[in-house]
């Protein structure tokens, strides 16, 4: 998240200037780990990375909001280390350029290709239990489609493997290579074509940046997590989100895509002689090439959109309700959320999220909620169908009063309340405002004292408690793996047979218990008028624990064959694992395999 200015508090200046991840806080964290574990020497790039950090502290705020981490201490420690290293007159490695690097630099310009071990290290690993670190020989940042073509052609000619990186990691290790890593961060074309309801997007543009631009022009786009690159996301899995209820997924999201093939030849998907990337094979297949541009769809927005939550005590009832809302075309964004997502999305600290995770089912009686964004007409209809709803105003009250909400005083009151209103309905009562004191000040009380002014100011902004805004930009969804890393099981499921999703959920629960893993249902979003849905279930683990990582691997080794068997018995299930790199497919190709 340190590559996008999602809080409007400013970006790490050196990252925006140098583009290599090495010059962002995320890269510096890796560098410090690399030094501590003896993986890299002190190199020229490492010294530059440390030097260019001004200790401005913007990373502390941004990182804390999403992950709870405070990277500034690590930045300072890295700078101290470098300072002492130089003061002691110790050597600084400047790796010699070889012929391949010279060729790469001829293509991109000298500053955009590197074989510095410090740079390479920041492109070699991520916390996934399914990947092993792979140190590339070169990292290159092409600036145009022609440069991408030339780099790919060179790699092909020299028989050097390569991988393309958007903005982060990949659970399957697709962004790692022993050869060349192409970081697309410099290719930042972003043009809105209002007449044709589309935006032209370069592969370095993030979901957040595109959404921001679309909203500025009065539109919305279907995007994934804010820091994810739009092109990377489309190619990888196709974009899916709660908005997929109306915007679809995979090929629904774009009008055209431009690629460079494995030989370095550019092509557009809309060309009649292009490879058929709209088709789907139910197995892992390579991507069509390196994406150099996506032409994505823009969608209209109305001024009366608002969010609401419909609480449910069980998953099956919630899923049936979501399906009905989708069938009746009543909502735009739509999902069945579990307690883990709800608690983490709205809590500014992991500790508070943990308490809220128990509080939601135990005290408020809502382990699940159907989340919907709809216009006035849609919301009126949902209210008629729903037993009880939490509207935007109550969501805001809940968010701004969280630290007081989970305190014993309210908990006891809610537990002992014997009236026929649902416990969450008490929240909207005027006297509760006195007890809960919903305000930026109250929610800021949940974080470290030195961050409270910042959080107070942040939560004074209306959009920070507006679920339409938050869901459009998806900035709070980055909190889902805040305290522990997660592995997601993502499936497409038939929604007309709700029991299928229920059985999958129960089996994933069982396997999580059997392997002693923290496991939680994530979300389910209806697709295609409630005929199908995308379903996510997550396993969490301590990323520094080899033993926990091994248990995740063992759990996955049990899940995957079971899912394969279950899918053959139950039509309409597709495993996202088999859709990787086929994100340009028509969704019908994998949702309805006749």
């Amino acid at each position: 998240m340190c590559k996008i200015d999602y809080l409007g508090t400013g970006l790490c200046a050196s990252g925006a200037e140098r583009h290599f991840v090495t010059f962002y806080p995320q890269g510096r964290m890796d560098l410090y780990r690399g030094l501590a574990e003896g993986l890299i020497p002190t190199t020229e790039a490492l010294v530059e990375s440390a030097d260019t950090c001004t200790l401005c502290g913007s990373c502390d705020k941004q990182c804390h909001f999403a992950t709870g981490m405070r990277p500034l201490k690590v930045m300072a420690a890295l700078k101290d280390y470098v300072h002492e290293h130089l003061a002691a007159g110790r050597p600084v490695l400047k790796p010699p350029a070889d012929g391949v690097l010279e060729s790469l630099r001829e293509i991109t310009g000298a500053q955009w290709a590197s074989n510095d071990p410090a740079v390479l290290m920041t492109y070699s690993d991520d916390p996934s239990p399914l990947t092993v670190p792979r140190m590339p020989r070169y990292v290159v940042l092409p600036g145009s489609r022609d440069e991408v073509s030339a780099v790919v052609a060179l790699a092909d000619k020299l028989n050097i493997p390569f991988a393309v990186r958007g903005n982060g990691g990949s659970v399957l290790g697709f962004v790692f290579s022993d050869g060349i890593v192409l970081d697309m961060n410099r290719m930042r074309k972003l043009e809105i074509d209002a007449d044709n309801w589309c935006a032209r997007v370069g592969p370095g543009v993030t979901a957040f940046e595109l959404q921001q631009e679309a909203i500025r022009h009065g539109f919305r786009v279907l995007t994934a997590e804010p820091e994810a690159t739009v092109c990377g996301n489309i190619v990888c899995t196709g974009i899916f989100s709660t908005w997929s209820n109306v915007y679809g997924t995979a090929a629904d999201g774009f009008i055209d895509m431009e690629f460079v093939d494995r030989k370095g030849k550019p092509f557009r998907l809309s060309s009649k002689d292009a490879p058929n990337a709209f088709a789907f094979e139910n197995r892992m297949t390579p991507s069509p090439g390196v994406c150099t541009e996506a032409v994505v769809k823009l969608h209209p927005v109305t001024a009366d959109e608002e969010a609401l939550l419909v609480p449910f005590a069980d998953f099956e009832a919630a899923t049936k309700f979501a399906r009905e809302i989708s069938q009746r075309r009543l909502a735009l964004a739509l999902a069945v959320l579990g307690r883990h997502y709800m608690a983490n999305f709205i809590s500014p600290s992991a500790e508070l999220a943990d308490r809220l995770k128990r509080f939601l089912p135990d005290v408020l009686g809502m382990p699940y909620a159907v989340f919907a964004i709809a216009d006035t007409f849609g919301r009126d209809a949902v209210r008629k169908l729903a037993p009880s709803v939490i509207d935007g105003r109550m969501i805001r009250t809940m968010m701004l009063s969280l630290p007081k909400l989970v305190e014993r005083e309210f908990e006891q009151m809610a537990r002992d309340y014997e009236g026929d209103s649902a416990p969450w309905e008490i929240l909207s009562r005027p006297e509760m405002q006195v007890l809960l004191q919903p305000s930026p000040d109250t929610i800021a009380g949940a974080v470290d004292e030195d961050l409270r002014d910042f959080y107070r100011e942040l939560y004074s902004r209306p959009e920070m408690t507006d679920f339409v805004w938050l869901n459009t930009f998806r900035i709070v969804s980055a909190r889902m793996g805040r305290d522990r890393h997660g592995v997601a099981i993502i499936l497409y499921v038939p929604l007309d047979k709700v029991e299928v999703s229920n059985r999958i959920k129960n089996e994933l629960d069982r396997i999580g218990e059997a392997h002693k893993l923290e496991h939680e249902y994530g979300f389910l979003t209806p697709l295609d008028l409630g005929k199908r849905a995308v379903f996510e279930y997550d396993y969490y683990f301590e990323q520094t624990s080899a033993e926990e990582k091994e248990r995740v691997r063992q759990a996955l080794a049990e899940i995957m064959p079971w899912l394969a068997r279950f899918s053959t018995e139950n039509p309409g299930i597709a495993n996202m694992m088999n859709i990787f790199s086929q994100g340009c497919s028509r969704k019908e190709s994998f949702l309805y395999r006749t």
Partner: protein, 405 residues
């Protein structure tokens, strides 16, 4: 079906203290008090308890400390982790085999006491589903006696004297009454089929210890008082930390001597009141009936008379320095509609109305003679008892600081 044990046989086992008693709901208010008293009197007791965030044994230790039970008494206690919502109470072999072979009597205290219609699934799950599981376990075990803790309010929507007999075909005020009523029929039928002796205990509303004021639960009779104080505290907070608008809208004000004025009428029925029994009486009466009626039966455990709501209003006002609260009849509300404070109060305590304006009376024709033989009478309820109980409630933060040393 032939009974599993003869009356003399049962009495001998009890006398020798060789009759092991399994208690469900043993960490609850009634169950824990009955368990502690049985242990003190030398009975071997097994408690069935769920593990939640804390293991069952750890929670039990906390409770036993609260009761101040000495170690030699605790040695007679076994804790079995289990769940009445699961078949065979969630026990697996070999624990299950041991429990089936060593359980002589069962006291079923576990219950969901919620009145709210929205909680019907949970209430039915425990009071019907859970009871079924316990009865299945009882039938499979060697148990010869079943003690079912019911409620006097199985009587349902009636007025006048309620007898110590089965009650059928009535309407009920809430799902709690309804499920407890159904439970009595279930337990009667299951015990008859299995040859198990059955005693049904029907207490009215239970509050803390009349001698010490101590309690483990602060709902029921405590709730209306707690809500009045809750509203008072909110208004105080609003005036102190906020704009004071909420307090003003409710008409709540504070005098310079620290007293609070709450302009609030509480509806009463001149013929009715609330029937309450202290936990110390309930415990003693329970054991006296258990020992004194080996052939079983249905017994009310009730106070000698209804306590008037007017008394509660007076006691509350005096103890907590409140003015403006007064009892009135329904006719007054028709003449002058509820103000904001009354509407708010009604929102939080409305579910308790059937018990605050209760015109039901509970016959003790069967229970009183047995209790009299043991010299047991229900202590009266006066200001001093009220004060002890409420001060303990406030001291423990209405339960929040119950186990804080």
């Amino acid at each position: 079906m032939r009974l599993r044990i003869s009356t003399p046989g049962l009495e001998a086992r009890r006398r020798d203290r060789t009759s092991r008693i399994l208690i469900t709901g043993g960490t609850g208010f009634l169950g824990s008090h009955v368990a502690a008293e049985l242990l003190k009197r030398g009975y071997p007791v097994s408690l069935l308890a769920r593990s939640n965030e804390k293991p069952a044994a750890e929670r039990l230790q906390q409770l036993l400390d609260w009761f101040g039970l000495p170690d030699e008494t605790r040695r007679r206690l076994r804790v079995t982790e289990g769940d009445i919502l699961k078949p065979m109470l969630g026990m697996q072999s070999p624990v299950l085999g041991d429990a089936l072979n060593t359980t002589d009597e069962i006291i079923h205290c576990a219950s969901n006491t919620s009145f709210s219609a929205r909680k019907r699934p949970q209430v039915e799950s425990v009071n019907i589903g859970g009871l079924s599981r316990v009865l299945e376990f009882a039938a499979a075990s060697r148990a010869y006696s079943f003690h079912h803790v019911s409620t006097a309010y199985v009587a349902g929507k009636v007025s006048g004297l309620c007898s110590e007999e089965p009650v059928a075909g009535h309407e009920f005020h809430n799902v709690y009454e309804e499920t407890k009523n159904k439970g009595e029929f279930m337990v009667t039928s299951a015990c008859r089929e299995a040859g198990i002796r059955l005693t049904i205990y029907r207490p009215t509303i239970v509050y803390g210890d009349s001698r010490t004021g101590r309690s483990l639960r602060f709902n029921a009779v405590y709730h209306p008082i707690r809500m009045a104080l809750f509203i008072k505290d909110l208004c105080e907070k609003d005036i102190r930390e906020g704009t004071g608008q909420q307090a003003m809208a409710l008409g709540v004000s504070f005098e310079s001597d620290g007293s609070a004025h709450l302009p609030m009428r509480v509806e009463v029925d001149k013929q009715g009141g609330i029937n309450i029994v202290p936990i110390d009486h309930l415990t003693n009466a329970f054991i006296a009936l258990m020992e004194g009626a080996p052939d079983g039966g249905i017994f009310h455990i009730a106070g000698d008379r209804q306590t008037r709501i007017e008394d509660f209003v007076e006691y509350t006002s005096r103890l907590f320095r409140l003015t403006g609260i007064r009892a009135c009849t329904v006719g007054e509300f028709e003449a002058a509609p509820r103000n904001s404070l009354e509407t708010l109060y009604e929102h939080y305590v409305g579910a308790y109305a059937p018990y605050m304006r209760d015109t039901r009376a509970f016959s003790r024709a069967k229970s009183l003679p047995i209790l009299a033989r043991s010299g047991i009478a229900c202590p009266g309820f006066d200001y001093e008892v009220f004060k002890r109980c409420m001060l303990y409630a406030v001291e423990t933060g209405w339960g929040a600081r119950l186990f804080v040393r």
